[in-house]
């Protein structure tokens, strides 16, 4: 099985390096094909590993070599394929295989074609390290690695100012969280003496709650950055500047879920500190609602999906925070499928619309883009959680968990959010595919994507539909590692009321969306309509003014402070004081050199003056010596020692 592990791990690396060889050359179709092939190889290996684990095989654990060893610290390159990581591997390799193949078409006309595959495969490799590592340090490698690839890919079109800005924003924001993560690591190391999951988790129960709480908080701060939780969420929406396959892979399916993965991975820790868990869950619920609310009014197709991702991440954190790790993981998996599908569909639309992102400028695309229409609709249905699609199983489970754990506020927030989710999803679908063909106003002739791209998307479509049916298989597998809490509402009646109630609520939301955006005529908003001048609309469209606040109260002051530090403090105080000391010597020399007037008479006077000065000193001293006793008396009278 080690072979498959290595294959799964390293074939993306090979793919990346292979593509990197051709970065300086014009587009080569085969780099895309080879890269996709290698990723698919990784997928196959992961599948084999999955079947191995499913069939009750042992956890595959290898230690490649020592990375760092000094003092008591010992960090190997260790990789483990267990129930959790294999799930993640499956998600990662599957989605990335799809995205790779898809990208061959999507990036067809881009001159950075080869480079794109290099970056994309590098991302897969980093992600594989992240999920497969058997220790926190390895996790951190992957953590930073995906950050790097995310930076590269967001800024892939580096000639665009907004893209590079977004890339840097994403990287720096992630760095802020990474600091928390790093501190978490230090805490783990100094308290348990190791960074290996197994030993560290084994040592944790004997630690005091305070330390564990801090550990949990700092690790979660790390997770917050990567999973774009409030207040570190702004980068995710901006990250949509990257190519759409990137958004699908990184900013929907895989990287952003790393935070959830971390919490799941550290479940022995979070089990010990339920308060932190509750905080995580509350934050998750808040983010779920908060993001969904922003998605309601947004006019950027990709941003809407990004907010939806954010919202779903909130769901996952709710589950993870409440201790339902397997539920979180399950939703993670299901979400990966339908969200990636949604993004890829959006990519098709963008292609068709020549990179137009405003859904208000589309409409009626279901005719020219039938396949895409179907896929996106189904994905939205899955997202909305309609039975029997994947979202239903995973998302409803989270609602159940919250009610079973008696967190009714969370439950009601989540329930409300589920309605919002359905609304904005179908608002999007309706705006794009239904109604009038507004795109004609802009003189665009949309066309369907390449066939093979659609084919490539089909596995996701299938999974988005049927993933829910694997729930029990999955449950049995994963609970070998995670706490096996089955969440059942106590009374059957209650269960049905809840389920059906939710379904109805969601369907009503969908219907409302259709009514508003598909049935009634839609105009491109131009800032004049009544709704657009409402306060709440303004707040939402401006993302609660958070980016503005960051820009005005963090970025700008930082820049100004930097300039002040440089020009005022460094140059005018620190440096000037050093130069000042030198200048004092120099100017003293310059001012006193007149003493050497060259006049002999003056020189003689100086000599006599020297003698007189010495004599005066001598007399003072002589008197002091002679009358030392009296002087002491006087001084002591004055209070001097």
């Amino acid at each position: 099985m080690e072979l498959y592990l290595y294959l799964a791990l390293f074939s993306p690396l090979v793919s990346s390096l292979f593509s990197a060889l051709f970065t300086a050359t014009p587009k080569k179709q085969f780099t895309g094909i080879v890269a996709s092939g290698l990723i698919i190889l990784a997928f196959v290996s992961s599948t084999i590993l999955l079947t191995h684990i499913l069939s009750g095989g042992d956890v595959v654990h290898v230690e490649l070599m020592t990375w760092m060893a000094t003092g008591d610290l010992y960090i190997p390159f260790g990789f483990v394929v267990d129930q959790v990581s294999v799930t993640m591997m499956m998600v990662v390799t599957l989605v990335s295989s799809v995205v790779h193949v898809y990208s061959i078409g999507y990036m067809d006309h881009d001159k950075g074609f080869n480079r794109f595959f290099s970056y994309l495969s590098a991302f897969v490799f980093s992600m594989m390290i992240l999920v497969m590592s058997d220790n926190f340090a390895g996790l951190f490698i992957g953590w930073e690695g995906v950050g790097l690839c995310s930076w590269l890919l967001i800024g892939f079109w580096y000639h665009k100012e907004s893209a590079t800005w977004a890339a840097n924003e994403a990287f720096i924001m992630n760095r802020i969280a990474d600091l928390g993560m790093l501190i978490g690591l230090f805490l783990v190391y100094w308290n348990t003496g190791t960074l290996q999951y197994e030993q560290a988790f084994a040592a944790m129960p004997s630690l005091s709650t305070d330390i564990l709480t801090w550990m949990g908080i700092f690790l979660f701060i790390g997770a917050m950055g990567k999973s774009a939780q409030f207040p570190l969420h702004t980068w995710l929406a901006d990250a949509m500047e990257g190519p759409t396959p990137v958004s699908a892979l990184i900013h929907a399916a895989t990287m952003v879920t790393a935070g959830v993965y971390l919490v799941i991975r550290a479940n022995p820790l979070y089990d010990l500190i339920p308060n932190v868990g509750l905080f995580i869950a509350s934050l998750g619920a808040f983010v779920a609602f908060y993001a969904a609310s922003m998605a309601l009014v947004n006019r950027d197709m990709k941003r809407i999906i990004a907010y939806s991702t954010l919202s779903q991440l909130g769901y996952m954190f709710v589950a993870a925070g409440l201790g339902a790790y397997w539920v979180a993981l399950f939703h993670l998996m299901a979400h990966a499928f339908f969200k990636a599908l949604l993004f890829l569909g959006a990519g098709n639309v963008m292609h068709a619309m020549h990179d137009e992102l405003d859904p208000f400028k589309m409409g009626g695309l279901k005719k020219p883009m039938k396949a895409t229409f179907i896929m996106m609709t189904l994905a939205s249905v899955a997202l909305a959680g309609i039975f029997p699609f994947a979202g239903f199983f995973s998302k409803d489970l989270i609602l159940e968990v919250s009610i079973i754990e008696h967190h009714y506020i969370i439950y009601s927030v989540l329930l409300f959010t589920a309605g919002l989710t359905a609304f904005y999803s179908f608002r999007l679908v309706a705006l794009i595919f239904h109604g009038e063909e507004r795109y004609k106003l802009f003189g665009i002739h949309p066309h369907e994507a390449y066939k093979f791209m659609l084919v490539a998307m089909s596995p996701l479509l299938i999974l988005a539909i049927i993933a829910g049916s694997f729930k029990m298989t999955y449950f049995e597998m994963v609970t070998a590692l995670l706490p096996a809490t089955e969440y059942h509402v106590h009374s059957v009646a209650m269960y049905w009321i809840m389920t059906i109630g939710t379904q109805i609520f969601v369907i009503l939301a969908i219907a409302f969306a259709y009514k508003k955006y598909a049935m009634s005529p839609v105009t491109v908003p131009d800032g004049t309509s009544k709704m657009e001048n409402r306060l709440c609309y303004k707040i939402l469209i401006n993302q609660y003014y958070i980016p503005y606040i960051y820009q005005e109260y963090v970025v700008k002051p930082y820049r100004e402070l930097s300039t002040i530090f440089w020009k005022e403090i460094d140059m005018k105080i620190v440096d000037a004081s050093v130069d000042g000391i030198a200048k004092i010597f120099y100017s003293t020399g310059e001012n006193t050199r007149t003493m050497q007037s060259g006049n002999l008479s003056t020189m003689l006077k100086w000599m006599v003056a020297g003698i007189v000065a010495l004599l005066s000193l001598a007399v003072v001293f002589g008197l002091a010596v002679r009358y030392s006793d009296e002087i002491k008396v006087i001084l002591s009278g004055l209070g001097v020692q």
């Binding site: 000094t70 490698i141 990474d178 230090f186 820049r559 403090i569 050093v578």
Partner: protein, 517 residues
């Protein structure tokens, strides 16, 4: 020959430098590369014959110079110093081979060879005076390099560099003389041998003063805030090769000296001053990073980033445990490689455009993709991305210091944020966007000569990031003995508890070591 390999490594370039005067002007570059290559081969040989499982000094050489005053020619390397020596010879080679069109190239190469002598000497010397000799002597070639080949403010910059460091080290010299005097009092003979000094246990009050004296010398060299202002000038004005060697090797002298002198000689003072120094280090990290962000000149960005990174090294050093000190030593090497490479990269663009202002550039990634790639790699290494060389050092340094103070480590950890900010901003300004300046439209990409210098650095950056063990293991062994020595020598309870003992349960009796008073 192996018995005298250190002497050979030190004096071979100097002798070759003198002979270099006789080489014809057009051929002198080849001569320089050849000499530096041999020197590098010698240092590699040193590495291969180095027994990494031994914690003590190896290849010791001893020759009385002025026995009446206790000055001896003592050389030796341990895991702490050996790699910096190798790095020095490596950078001399890289530097000479990357030299482009330079006026008075013969003088430059001879100067570089002399500089190499002093650098090897500093790290191999085990006698304080010998150390001081090389330490001061290293200023002279650098003075000349900056002053003769530098930018418009070169004279100011070079003299400032020289005088500033010289002043600090003179105070250090007084400290050294004090140490020798204490040794004389305790044993009746003069000695400047560092290993002999290690046996002294000084009372805390003396330690504090002596530590301060040594600190001034080292801190200016490092350079620590607020003694850092010579560095931007020196880097800003120096030619590429000068900046490379200054950043890669010369700055390391200060931090190396902290580990070689301050920690083992004054364990109690080290503990006493740990927090003030850590605060300074944190100011260095954050403040200079912010200053770097405000810069308009890309070389100044790299220069200030050096200061910022040196802050992390200082912090690791004053973690006073094996993890931190090993990390800081590793980071010295890492920072040497990375900042050296960054300065080389800045030199590449400066050679082409004769400006270093970032506003002059923009969109270079279109024009010079290979350049952008290597720059990007080095920038990421500088930012401390895992699996690059810098991360190992930074991680261990911060990890080590976390044991001493949580809050301060948290603040120091800001390094990874602020570092990313100025680096990414600079990268964005230079490489991203459209090509706006017509002068940049047709810039040639990095050429073979430059690649020859840059590729090895890139390889090292990644290789040691993934597999730091060849360095980390010997460093670890030597650091362990230093930490143990410090623990044994510590006299205050505070110090005893702050510095971990590695030998559990065995307490070395104090009577075996002479006590000065």
């Amino acid at each position: 020959m192996l018995d005298h390999i250190l002497s050979i490594i030190i004096f071979f370039p100097a002798v070759a430098g003198i002979l270099g005067f006789l080489v014809q002007k057009d051929s002198v570059r080849a001569y320089g590369i050849a000499v530096a290559g041999i020197e590098f081969a010698l240092s590699l040989w040193l590495w291969f014959s180095f027994d990494s499982s031994v914690s003590g000094m190896q290849f010791m050489e001893q020759l009385p110079l002025v026995p009446a005053f206790g000055i001896n020619y003592i050389l030796g390397v341990d895991g702490i110093s050996v790699f910096i020596i190798i790095l020095a010879s490596f950078f001399t080679m890289i530097g000479i081979s990357s030299l482009g069109e330079t006026k008075d190239i013969k003088n430059m190469i001879v100067t570089l060879l002399f500089l190499q002598m002093t650098m090897a000497g500093v790290f191999a010397a085990l006698d304080a005076i010998l150390f001081y000799v090389f330490w001061e002597l290293s200023l002279v070639p650098m003075l000349y390099i900056i002053g003769a080949w530098g930018g418009p403010l070169r004279v100011y910059a070079s003299v400032k560099f020289f005088l500033y460091t010289f002043t600090g080290s003179l105070v250090m010299l007084v400290g050294m003389l004090f140490m020798a005097y204490f040794y004389y009092q305790a044993t009746g003979v003069w000695s400047f041998a560092i290993l002999e000094w290690y046996r002294l246990i000084l009372p805390e009050s003396f330690q504090l003063w002596l530590f301060a004296a040594f600190f001034l010398g080292f801190a200016i060299k490092v350079p620590m805030f607020p003694f850092h202002t010579w560095l931007p000038y020196a880097h800003g004005q120096a030619p590429t090769i000068g900046s490379v060697i200054l950043a890669a090797i010369l700055l390391k002298m200060g931090t190396y000296a902290f580990i070689r002198f301050s920690l083992p000689l004054f364990p109690d003072a080290s503990v006493f001053y740990m927090f003030p120094i850590a605060v300074l280090a944190i100011i260095m990290i954050i403040y200079t990073a912010m200053v770097a962000y405000a810069q308009k000149d890309v070389k100044q960005v790299v220069a200030y980033s050096s200061v910022s990174h040196m802050g992390v090294i200082i912090l690791g050093t004053f973690a006073l445990n094996v993890e931190g000190i090993s990390g800081s030593i590793f980071l010295m090497i890492a920072h040497g490689v990375v900042s050296g490479a960054l300065f080389l990269l800045v030199g590449v663009i400066y050679d082409r455009r004769h400006t270093k202002l970032m506003s002059e550039f923009g969109g270079l990634a279109h024009v010079m993709p290979r350049y952008a790639t290597i720059f990007g790699l080095m920038m990421m290494a500088s930012v401390g991305l895992p699996l690059t060389i810098n991360f190992v050092g930074e991680f261990l340094s911060l990890l080590g210091f976390y044991q001493q103070s949580h809050i301060l480590t948290l603040l120091a950890g800001m390094a990874i944020i602020v570092g990313a900010i100025y680096m990414l901003a600079a990268y964005k300004k230079m490489f991203f966007g459209e090509v706006t300046n017509e002068a940049n439209r047709n810039l040639p990409d990095v050429n073979k000569r430059e690649l020859f210098a840059l590729i090895p650095l890139a390889i090292i950056t990644v290789w040691l990031g993934i597999y730091p063990k060849p360095l980390l293991e010997p460093i670890n062994n030597s650091v362990k003995s230093v930490v143990q020595l410090m623990h044994d020598k510590a006299i205050t309870d505070e110090a005893k508890s702050r510095i971990p003992s590695l030998v559990k349960g065995i307490e070395i009796t104090k009577t075996s070591t002479p006590e000065a008073h």
